[in-house]
């Protein structure tokens, strides 16, 4: 069942690889063989979407342990097993992975150079990420986590902007270091606990001395902290976003960052509950630093993409806060926030991409009056307002309810840190409002008076995403029911902090 999510995109990639070569000049001659790579890629991802939605329907929300488990010994000598499983933490992320890949492919420029390689790489990326979300074996997770690097590196390095070489290499080095640290932590855990396999087992760390646990968890935290990214490990992200093309930015922000937060929950909190509860006050402070640093830096940016990138850093900080608090509610909120950030940042990047394509710039000091009807981009501008407001946490949209759940869940444990993080939502309003006000309000300058018209095909992804954001903002229960049982069960082996938080509430009540 689950392997299909990895196999379908891989088959698609192989099929595209078998296609006859299409001359890059086919646009001029027109008589050449038509290029089917895009259609195949879309078909494969559509199948993957259907498959994951089907899994969602068959998923039993009342069971907290893994479902649809696939177990196949792979390399016994190493202790590596091909073990996949699905629970409420990975299911929404799998759906969003398939969904955003579809949007990325759909919004790719059809006149792209080397389309076959491009679509193959995107499908491989999709397969790698799906595998990482499904893997229930530490080593297997690590393999998928590393495999996903290669296509992404190439996607940035080949189809990126002017500085793509620098950005792609920086991304590669950072993430490779992150992979090495994660591997080190996994190996350390397995060997020190004397286990014979790398299977995921939450109870494994409990016989290790606390100091060892702390070191292993610290290694893991830095590893995933690079991927999330958390300040000060974040500098690869703005560069990668600015240089990557729009669809790749969508995937990077919407899906790939979630690997970090997913790892944080699954392997940080899940494998080291005891050490986690010791470190959690520091993690909450780290979250505050990330949120405020990201938000303040975003205010000073003039490149739209950089602004959205820094806002991602800030919004990922909320997830760390929720994870640090580790109450059933806050963990639920982190999963919700992952999905809402995925959809919202995807929407924002798509729209910024359209603006860049039409005007040739992303500088908010140059752009003005894009809302102007007839000659401007009024619908793109309206969608941008929706996205921006969702990100700033206006109720009725996903951004609000996810942040509210995190804040509500974290407040009993870390009141001061939660309040400081809330300042971040105010700052989000500041920078995104500046973005909309400068570039969409005002008078359209003469230099932009002949913008090429926006096609409906460029608007449709934005409309769909905006609809989803509003719908899930009004009906959050639909998403939450998938996750709730799992996140609650995750904390059963984790009594310490919940008790602290509870006692605080009691104390306040007097």
């Amino acid at each position: 069942m689950l392997s299909a999510l990895i196999v379908i995109p891989l088959l698609g990639a192989i099929l595209i690889g078998l296609l006859p070569r299409v001359s890059s000049s086919h646009a001029q001659t027109g008589a050449e063989v038509p290029d089917y790579s895009r259609a195949i890629a879309l078909l494969a991802v559509t199948l993957a979407i259907f498959w994951s939605v089907l899994l969602g329907f068959k998923f039993d929300t009342s069971i907290s342990h893994l479902q649809f488990v696939e177990n196949m010994p792979w390399i016994d000598a190493l202790g590596l097993t091909y073990r996949l499983g699905l629970d409420g933490l990975s299911l929404p992320l799998l759906v969003i992975n398939a969904l955003l890949t579809w949007f990325a492919i759909y919004s790719t420029d059809e006149l792209l150079q080397r389309p076959r390689l491009y679509y193959m790489l995107i499908l491989m990326l999709n397969a790698g990420v799906a595998g990482a979300f499904l893997a229930q074996d530490l080593l297997l997770f690590f393999l998928f986590y590393e495999i996903e690097l290669i296509p992404l590196y190439l996607l940035i390095a080949i189809w990126g902007g002017a500085q793509r070489g620098y950005a792609a290499t920086k991304f590669l080095i950072y993430t490779a270091i992150s992979g090495v640290l994660i591997l080190a932590a996994f190996l350390g855990l397995t060997w020190l606990s004397g286990a014979s396999s790398f299977g995921y087992d939450p109870s494994r760390s409990q016989f290790l001395p606390l100091a060892t646990q702390l070191i292993l968890l610290g290694t893991l935290l830095i590893g995933f902290g690079i991927k999330i990214p958390l300040v000060p490990l974040h500098t690869w992200l703005p560069d990668a976003h600015v240089e990557a093309s729009t669809p790749i930015s969508v995937l990077l922000a919407g899906v790939l960052l979630k690997l970090g937060t997913y790892g944080l929950l699954r392997f940080g909190l899940g494998l080291f509950p005891e050490a986690w509860s010791v470190l959690s006050p520091w993690l909450a402070i780290w979250a505050v630093v990330s949120v405020l640093y990201g938000a303040f830096t975003a205010i000073a940016q003039s490149d739209m993409k950089k602004m959205v990138a820094y806002s991602s850093i800030a919004h990922m900080g909320y997830i760390l806060l929720g994870a640090a608090a580790a109450t059933p509610l806050s963990i639920l909120g982190t999963v919700f926030q992952m999905i809402s950030h995925g959809l919202i940042s995807a929407l924002l990047f798509l729209l910024v991409g359209v603006v860049h394509k039409k005007t040739g710039t992303r500088d908010i000091n140059i752009l003005h009056g894009l809302l102007t009807p007839e000659r401007g981009l009024p619908i793109i501008g309206s969608l941008m307002i929706v996205g921006v407001m969702a990100s700033a946490g206006i109720p009725g949209m996903m951004g609000f309810i996810s942040e509210f759940i995190i804040f509500r869940g974290s407040f009993p444990v870390f009141p001061v840190q939660t309040l400081l993080c809330m300042v971040g939502t105010g700052l989000t309003a500041v920078y995104f409002l500046l973005l909309v006000n400068r570039s969409f309000f005002g008078r359209l300058p003469v230099q932009f008076s002949n913008l090429p018209p926006v096609q409906w095909s460029e608007r449709i992804p934005g409309f769909l995403l905006a609809t989803m954001i509003v719908f899930l903002g009004l009906q959050p229960s639909w998403l939450v029911q998938w996750t709730e049982t799992t996140t609650t069960a995750m904390l059963i082996s984790y009594p310490t902090i919940g008790a602290v938080g509870h006692s605080l509430t009691q104390k306040d009540k007097g």
Binding site: K170, I173, P232, T235, F296, T297, A298, I299, A300, Q301, T327, P328, L329, L332, G369, L371, T372, P373, P378, I379, I385, M389, A392, I394, P395, G396, F400, F404, I405, F407, R408, G409, F411, P415, T418, L419, M422, V423, T425, G426, L427, A429, V430, L433, L434, N437, F440, F441, G442, R443, L444, S477, V480, E484, T487, T488, T505, D508, K509, G510
Partner: protein
């Protein structure tokens, strides 16, 4: 049937939202052939439906016990977010006020916005506005109220920014959003803290909790201040008041609602919060102090304005300041009374000046004059609105202010003084505006000034009659004091203050050609008031400056220090690799030397360590 209407009263706010959604095909430009008018008709229809539905429910609930409607919206872990609606005669009355004023404002907008190409978008926003406001009137859950307040913030931003091509509108929309957002974020902090402390967000449960809660003074103070800051922003109270003045750049039909019921919504939430605010004496004192400062300050500032809309919008802040005082002193009846009468009279005033603005294409009162004979209905509307607002003749405003004066008469006499000052100043201001706009010789812009078309005149006249009928409505609702218990001196003082204001306004020398006094102190005073005590400048050099500096510093640090360090590591490794490659010379004696040096260093180290 009755039960059906009651059970489905949660639809009332939804009608507005549905209307807003129905306009989308026109607002987005999918349907062009019909022009934008059908969108407006859809919205009007939805407003009428919600008015009728609300009226029927109001009739049913009148004299019956409130039947709260509970919707379990979201349940997860230990969180149960219920949306509780207050289906009572008070809540329904508020809904009726909102929808009726919204209907009138939308009718008015049909005429006022007739030539605007974005009529459909305007009506979409008005529908959204109306939905959020009627939801607020019904909401019995702090969570829902907070959510709707934020939606109001958003729709205010979009309505103020409606004519987004004008530079003043751009800053006005930005300031409106950010100022309210400051209040909203603080309110959110309060909401989250309150939810954690009490475990519920429904007002009845919160009241129960507040009666027995024992909080440390710091917690209760912070909680109280956080809770009041949302309404402070929404009601344009000091220090979050600047947006209302700037928001006057937006279209006038929206200003009608904004100055009457939108600000009232914020105050309505505050009134609902009042039993919780009792926990924090500091918050109550803050309410009184801020309310007083705003009431008197804004009344003064209004006098120095020459923009017709701004002259009136500052007086909105002033009246809401009175509401804040009333809530701070725990007289919520007075607060509701002032809100009701102010909303009706202020809406009428804004309709009247809307007609003036449309006819003269100007908002500068020094360019106007002599309109009374040309626009009789508009003039009458202004006069009735003004009389309905101030305490002089026994219309709504008089009774509301009288209620306040009578309430504070024994306990807090200095608040009576505040009320009288505000009354006198607003009478003065309204007389001044009336003289400049309607009396005197006509000026170039007012010479050809026909009365407005029927779409604007009908709602204006209807509201004029309503304003005149307010005392009768109050009588029906048993809100008027009994004649035998009337406080004679209070009535006299109130009328006197109104009369003084009126007399001063009628006699003061208003010269349109020299708008600037030559005497330095007078000039200074005028500037001080005209520029709103320079509060915006104060913000510019404090909060805005701080955020700007911190963000720049952060960006600089990020780019040069943090990223610089990363790049330095990269460069250093490349550089060391590049330099080390010269050590591979291919000469064996060089390798031997390297080995020798390496071995001797190792040997020395070992001997040292072993020793």
């Amino acid at each position: 049937m009755e039960q059906f209407l009651l059970q489905n009263s949660w639809w009332i706010p939804c009608y507005g939202f549905i209307g807003a959604i129905l306009t989308l095909p026109w607002a987005v430009g999918i349907i062009r052939r019909t022009g934008p008018r059908p969108a407006a008709y859809f919205n009007l229809l939805m407003t009428i439906i919600s008015l009728v539905h609300g009226f029927l429910v109001f009739r049913i609930t009148l004299g019956e016990d409130p039947q709260p409607l509970v919707i379990h919206w979201f349940t997860a872990a230990d969180l149960d977010l219920t949306l509780m609606l207050d289906v009572s005669s008070v809540g329904m009355g508020a809904v009726e006020l909102v929808t009726a004023l919204s209907l009138l404002a939308q009718l008015f907008a049909l005429g006022y916005m007739e030539k605007d190409w974005a009529l459909a978008r305007f009506f979409a926003l008005m529908g959204f506005f109306e939905g959020a406001m009627s939801g607020l009137a019904l909401s019995e859950s702090l969570f829902l109220s907070y959510a709707l307040l934020e939606m109001l913030t958003l729709s205010t931003y979009l309505l103020v920014g409606f004519w987004y091509a004008q530079p003043l509108v751009v800053t006005a929309a930005r300031d409106a959003f950010l100022t309210k957002r400051v209040g909203d974020v603080l309110l959110l902090m309060g909401v989250v803290a309150l939810a954690t402390l009490s475990g519920t967000l429904n007002f009845p449960d919160l009241y129960e909790w507040a009666e027995t809660a024992e909080l440390s003074p710091t917690v209760s103070t912070l909680l109280g201040l956080a809770l009041i800051s949302g309404p402070i922003g929404k009601c344009a109270q000091f220090p979050l008041h600047l947006w209302l003045d700037e928001a006057m750049e937006g279209p006038n039909p929206a200003s009608i609602l904004r100055n009457s019921v939108v600000v009232a919504c914020g105050a309505y939430v505050l009134i609902k919060l009042q039993p919780i605010l009792v926990l924090s004496p500091v918050a109550s004192i803050a309410l009184i102090v801020l309310g007083t400062m705003t009431a008197i300050g804004a009344s003064l500032v209004a006098i120095a304005q020459i923009d017709i809309k701004r002259a009136l919008s500052h007086s909105t802040s002033a009246y809401l300041g009175l509401v804040f005082i009333a809530v701070g002193t725990q007289w919520t009846d007075v607060a509701l009374f002032v809100l009701l009468t102010h909303a009706i009279a202020k809406a009428l005033l804004f309709m009247s000046i809307g007609s003036v603005i449309l006819t003269t294409s100007s908002q500068d009162i020094t360019e106007m004059g002599g309109l009374w004979s040309r626009m009789p209905a508009t003039s009458i509307a202004f006069v009735v609105g003004a009389v309905g607002l101030v305490g002089l003749l026994p219309l709504g405003g008089f009774w509301a202010l009288y209620e306040g004066v009578d309430t504070y008469w024994y306990g807090q006499p200095w608040l009576v003084v505040v009320l009288l000052i505000v009354n006198a100043l607003s009478a003065f201001n309204l007389t001044r505006v009336f003289r400049l706009v309607f009396l005197g010789p006509p000026q170039p812009k007012t010479r050809r000034a026909p009365e407005v078309p029927w779409t604007m005149a009908v709602p204006m006249v209807a509201l004029t009659i309503t304003t005149l009928l307010v005392p009768a409505i109050l009588q029906r609702l048993y809100l008027l004091p009994d004649w035998t218990y009337i406080n004679g001196p209070a009535v006299v003082l109130l009328m006197l203050s109104g009369a003084i204001g009126f007399a001063l306004g009628a006699t003061i020398h208003l010269n349109r050609t020299w708008a600037r006094p030559i005497q330095t102190p007078l000039k200074f005073a005028q500037d001080l008031l005209a520029y709103d005590f320079y509060v915006d400048q104060l913000y510019k050099v404090t909060v805005v400056w701080l955020v700007d500096r911190v963000s720049r510093l952060n960006a600089w640090f990020d780019r040069y220090v943090l990223d610089g360090a990363v790049n330095f590591v990269g460069l250093a490794s490349i550089f060391s690799g590049e330099s080390l490659k010269y050590s591979v010379s291919g000469q064996s004696q060089f390798y031997l030397l390297t080995i020798l040096i390496g071995v001797s260093i190792l040997g020395a180290l070992l001997t040292y360590l072993v020793w």
